[in-house]
């Protein structure tokens, strides 16, 4: 009985999972990625060449669950387990572009999730620090980023609310979710002239993309745009 089950699993791996894994590894998705950059990002007004190049470079399909690979480059967020999502490609590009990174910056990301956003940031910035509150996601993202050659990204498992004081100050900070206020420690860890971006609102409905800038004693907030995520809830999130 057990050997039959084992044989069944091997067959499943050979017939279904192996081709998908091979596809994922050999990056046959380059065309899809190009289309994504062209139709979803550039067409919507994101023109920063560094951002576009990063979006073209990072294999997004490696950051989504195997059963979602076919939809990796779709114009929508996707569930990655643990109740979290990988953001819509356009939102990733928009948020990255809003930070106006030149290449010398030290960036902190709160909410590693799949690791995709950290990889995009690493393509542009000099140093990337990322914190994930969920242990499973932290381990998964750390392993994947390392496999993909992003070993320079420093990952940490913990509460992003308090930032990364040892590595502060940061030129830019990116938060993937906030509730009703921007964590004071993060403002404190922002350099003078630094920028912090976050989507505000219910993570499962609509948010405002907000850019915070620190200049001397003053901190200003600029509403960039309203973003409306397709609801991804219930059993979809639990998968």
């Amino acid at each position: 009985m057990q050997s039959a089950e084992l044989a069944q699993k091997v067959m499943l791996f050979m017939v279904v999972l192996l081709p998908i894994e091979l596809l994922a590894a050999t990056d046959v998705f380059q065309g899809a990625r190009q289309q994504m950059v062209l139709n979803q990002i550039k067409a919507r007004g994101v023109s920063n060449p560094k951002v576009l190049a990063a979006m073209q470079q990072v294999p997004r399909h490696r950051f989504v669950p195997t059963n979602m690979i076919a939809r990796a480059y779709a114009d929508r967020p996707l569930p990655i387990g643990e109740g979290q999502t990988i953001s819509q490609p356009y939102i990733v590009a928009l948020m990255t572009a809003a930070l106006k990174l030149e290449g010398r910056e030290r960036v902190l990301e709160i909410g590693t999730g799949s690791g995709y956003q950290a990889a995009i940031l690493a393509e542009i910035a000099a140093e990337v620090y990322t914190i994930e509150i969920k242990t499973k996601l932290y381990h998964r993202a750390t392993g994947l980023l390392s496999d993909l050659g992003y070993a320079g990204i420093k990952t940490r498992s913990g509460d992003g609310y308090f930032g990364w004081p040892e590595a502060a100050p940061f030129d830019a900070i990116m938060i993937t979710a906030a509730v009703d206020h921007i964590p004071p420690p993060l403002i404190k860890q922002l350099k003078d002239g630094g920028r912090l971006i976050l989507p505000l609102g219910n993570p499962l409905s609509y948010q405002n993309l907000v850019l915070v800038s620190k200049s001397g004693d003053d901190v200003t907030v600029k509403q960039i745009t309203g973003v409306l995520f397709v609801p991804m809830t219930g059993h979809a999130l639990e998968r």
């Binding site: 643990e82 509730v179 403002i187 409306l228």
Partner: protein
């Protein structure tokens, strides 16, 4: 003796008992269904329950007509003990299955536009939950149709049972929780089964006498009674809240999201008719709406209580209280800077928690926090050394002569804008602002903080509310008493007792914490969009336009032209979160990026969808038997149909009016619903019983007196409600019941007299039952829309119109007879 061998004609006493218990169970089932929808979806989805009940009840009358049970002998043949036992058992089984299916089905109505499967889930939920109502409706319709001489008794049993069903969850929910109570009320009617057990073969039931039954029948009845009793006892008292009985909150609600954090769990759940309260223990809860970005210290540790999975109340741990300086860096604290050393502070809190922190940070000597929910107030009391009062805040103000330096109102609403549009709240109406104002000391300040919406909505409405309230009190220049500030996602309204001549204090506060002014006398436009930058100063521009409109007395033109409904709310139209304008729905849809589900989020759209859906169902249920009967028998006259439609609508309009009007007295719509349902159903049951004994000649005078009473209510309701609001709690309940009595008693007569005397065949009675049920539900939904759009008093106008139509029909019907 096998049941099939016995004809088992049922006598009236067991039928009355069955009608009573089934009515009780069905109404409790309906209330609990509403609770399930309120927790697992959103409050406004509980509206669907009314439509479900209609479908079940009205379809039972239609079924009787379609089944061809048109003569009394056919009916009595059909109405035998075996069928009743089957119907009761079907009720219990379907109610249980409906509950378990509903709590486990991945129904998510937000995803309806995207997933075809959701339509299947919705339809299945609808049909499954309607089945228990169908069973009950069938039994009641059969009772009316089979025993026309006992119409008064059947009516009384229905009403008393329903009243019991309305009251039962109020008492039992906190003891057993939703899941176990659901099991108990679903199984309760099984207790009737022994009444219909086969008796000695030679006897028919109505002639049977237990004392002369052979022992085996007697023992059999006892055995079955014991089994059923044990089953109900086990499900109510012994069975724990297993996972399959637990109602999970919507994934969109704040509770679901906070539970995603590690080391976060529910430490306590309290079930109550007013809502389920979950206490959360998590190291990751941090609550500080309106916190300045210049505050860089640590927030105190925080706990949270979630009402029906949302509307969180936050509590700061006293041990970390030295960190309460954060409160001084919140937007709302601007009000405290205008009165730096307040002695007496009143905090009116519905959801939130930062207001209490602000009051404590101000160092005020005397802080009173009023919270309408006792279970949350109790928890707050354990955290803070302040005076906690459990009371409907408006009633508290009506009963106190104390004056306050600061009155701070905090209610952040639901986590998704639009889902609270149907929520009735008397904290942000013109009347409420007037009450706050009248309790301010000469230097006092009112503080109200809310979410900042775009396009501007609530900021405009609250400004207009404050302005109107001050103008009504005779202030020559209300705009000089109003200040508004904002950060990036909240705003604060300040209403000052003294005109704000010197803005230096507020300007310094705003500069210090990087807040922007939105409205103040002599405001410089360069101050309005500095730190929290929008593409344009949308809020300032809209507020300035509104203020100009008020000063030129063209505010109505402004309200008519504006994209959203931002008209200030009154106690007669107390829906502060409702903004949708039907005439501008297309523009609104466009402004939200043409996303269909922004409309689905709006409660009001859901009401309209349910109304259309109920209308379609009602037409089908009422037309189908007419077409069928016309082929074989004489259908009911148009006057009959209109009469029962009018009586059903009138009854429901009055009931809905009282529920909405009494919410001001009790501070909670569910408490109001319980009191009104209990009172109206019992009194109208008594009225119906009296009327059938008094005879048909009473019908016209009863209708005339009822209409007179309703007219009187139109003229005196505001005075009466204001007077009752000033009374202590017990007297408020007592006077509410006194107000209910005459009208409810009279309302019982038209239906029971009509069923008894105006109809001649069981088929007509079954049809009248369906018509009455359909009209009741359509009226309930229409009443909700009327209250939202034009005001609660207009529901009474609907009731008066309905009873006038009924009166006109009576004249025709009596003349024809």
């Amino acid at each position: 003796m096998p049941w099939s061998a016995s004809r088992n004609i049922v006598a009236i006493p067991p039928i009355l008992a069955t009608v009573l218990v089934m009515s009780l169970s069905s109404l409790a089932f309906e209330v609990l269904l509403a609770r399930i929808f309120a927790i697992s979806q959103w409050n406004h989805l509980s509206f669907m329950v009314i439509s479900i009940a209609l479908f079940g009840f009205a379809s039972s009358g239609t079924y009787l007509n379609l089944a061809g049970l048109s003569s009394r002998s056919q009916l009595q043949d059909w109405l035998n003990a075996r069928r009743l036992v089957i119907l009761i058992s079907l009720y219990s089984a379907s109610a249980l299955i409906a509950f378990i299916t509903l709590t486990h089905m991945p129904l998510d109505y937000f995803r309806l536009p995207f997933e075809a499967a959701q339509a299947v889930y919705l339809l299945s939920a609808y049909l499954l939950t309607a089945l228990p109502f169908f069973c009950t409706g069938l039994i009641i319709a059969l009772a009316y149709a089979s025993f026309p001489a006992k119409t008064g008794s059947v009516y009384l049993a229905t009403m008393v049972g329903s009243a019991g069903g309305a009251l039962l969850p109020a008492i039992a929910l906190s003891l057993f929780g939703e899941g176990r109570l659901f099991c108990a009320i679903s199984l309760l009617p099984l207790g009737l089964v022994p009444l219909y057990l086969p008796q000695a073969p030679a006897h028919q039931f109505h002639a049977a006498d237990d004392d002369h039954q052979p022992p085996r029948y007697f023992l059999g009845r006892w055995f079955l009674s014991t089994i059923i009793g044990l089953l109900i006892f086990f499900s109510t008292f012994i069975i724990p809240e297993y996972k399959f009985l637990h109602i999970k909150p919507s994934h969109y609600k704040a509770l679901h999201q906070v539970l995603q954090f590690p080391d976060t769990n529910i430490t306590q759940t309290e079930h109550h008719l007013r809502g389920r309260v979950d206490t959360i223990n998590s190291p990751f809860i941090r609550f500080a709406p309106g916190l300045s970005l210049k505050f860089t210290e640590t927030l105190p540790r925080t706990s949270a209580l979630y009402l029906d999975g949302d509307n969180a109340s936050h509590l700061y741990h006293v041990k970390s209280w030295p960190n309460n300086r954060f409160a001084r860096a919140t937007l709302a604290y601007a009000g405290y800077t205008l009165h730096p050393n307040p002695q007496h502070v009143l905090v009116v809190q519905n959801a939130g928690g930062a207001a209490a922190a602000c009051a404590l940070a101000s160092g005020a000597g005397d802080i009173t926090l009023v919270h309408p929910r006792s279970n949350i107030a109790k928890q707050i009391d354990q955290f803070y050394p302040i005076q906690i009062v459990t009371e409907q805040p408006r009633a508290f103000l009506a009963n106190t002569s104390n004056q306050f330096d600061i009155i701070h109102i905090e209610d952040w609403g639901t986590s998704l804008a639009g889902t609270a549009a149907l929520n009735q709240s008397h904290l942000l109406t013109i009347n409420a602002l007037t009450a706050y104002w009248q309790h301010l000391t000469t230097q006092g300040v009112i503080i109200i903080s809310r979410k900042l919406l775009l396009p501007p909505a609530e900021s405009l409405r609250l400004w207009a509310t404050a302005y109107t309230s001050l103008r009504q009190q005779g202030l020559p220049d209300p705009e000089r008493h109003i200040i508004m500030l904002r950060n990036w996602d909240t705003f604060t309204l300040l209403v000052t007792r003294q005109p704000s001549e010197n803005l230096a204090v507020i300007r310094n506060f705003a500069n210090r914490y990087n807040f922007d002014l939105m409205y103040a006398p002599h405001l410089n436009p360069c101050e309005v969009n500095r730190f929290n930058v929008f593409d344009q100063p949308f809020h300032y521009a809209a507020l300035t336009e509104l203020a100009n409109a008020y000063q030129t007395e063209t505010e109505q033109t402004f309200f008519d032209k504006y994209l959203l409904d931002v008209v200030p709310q009154t106690d007669d139209r107390p829906f502060p979160d409702r903004y949708l304008k039907w005439v501008k729905i297309k523009n609104f849809h466009q402004s939200m990026g043409n996303r269909i589900y922004t409309l689905i989020l709006s409660s009001e759209v859901v009401v309209m969808v349910v109304l259309v859906e109920a209308l379609v169902i009602a037409v089908i249920l009422l037309m189908a038997p007419l077409i069928y009967i016309r082929k074989r028998l004489q259908p009911p006259a148009i006057s009959h149909i209109v009469y029962f439609l009018a009586v059903g609508a009138g009854f429901m309009f009055v009931e809905l009016y009282f529920i909405k009007a009494f919410t001001l007295l009790f501070g909670n719509p569910v408490v109001s619903l319980t009191v009104v349902l209990g009172g109206v159903l019992i009194f109208s049951g008594a009225g119906g019983y009296w009327a059938t004994r008094a005879g048909i000649r009473r019908l016209s005078p009863v209708l005339a007196i009822l209409i007179l009473f309703l007219f009187a209510l139109v003229f005196f309701n505001e005075t009466l409600l204001s007077a009752i609001l000033t009374l202590p709690v017990f007297y408020r309940y007592a006077w509410a019941v006194v107000m209910l009595f005459p009208i409810s008693f009279l309302m019982g007569a038209p239906f029971s007299l009509g069923m008894r005397y105006l109809l001649s065949s069981p088929g007509q009675r079954a049809y009248a039952w369906a018509a009455n049920g359909s009209a009741s539900v359509l009226a309930a939904i229409a009443a909700a829309q009327m209250a939202l759009s034009i005001g609660i008093q207009f529901i009474l106008a609907g009731a008066i119109a309905a009873y006038i139509v009924a009166g006109a029909c009576v004249r025709r019907l009596l003349a024809a007879n």
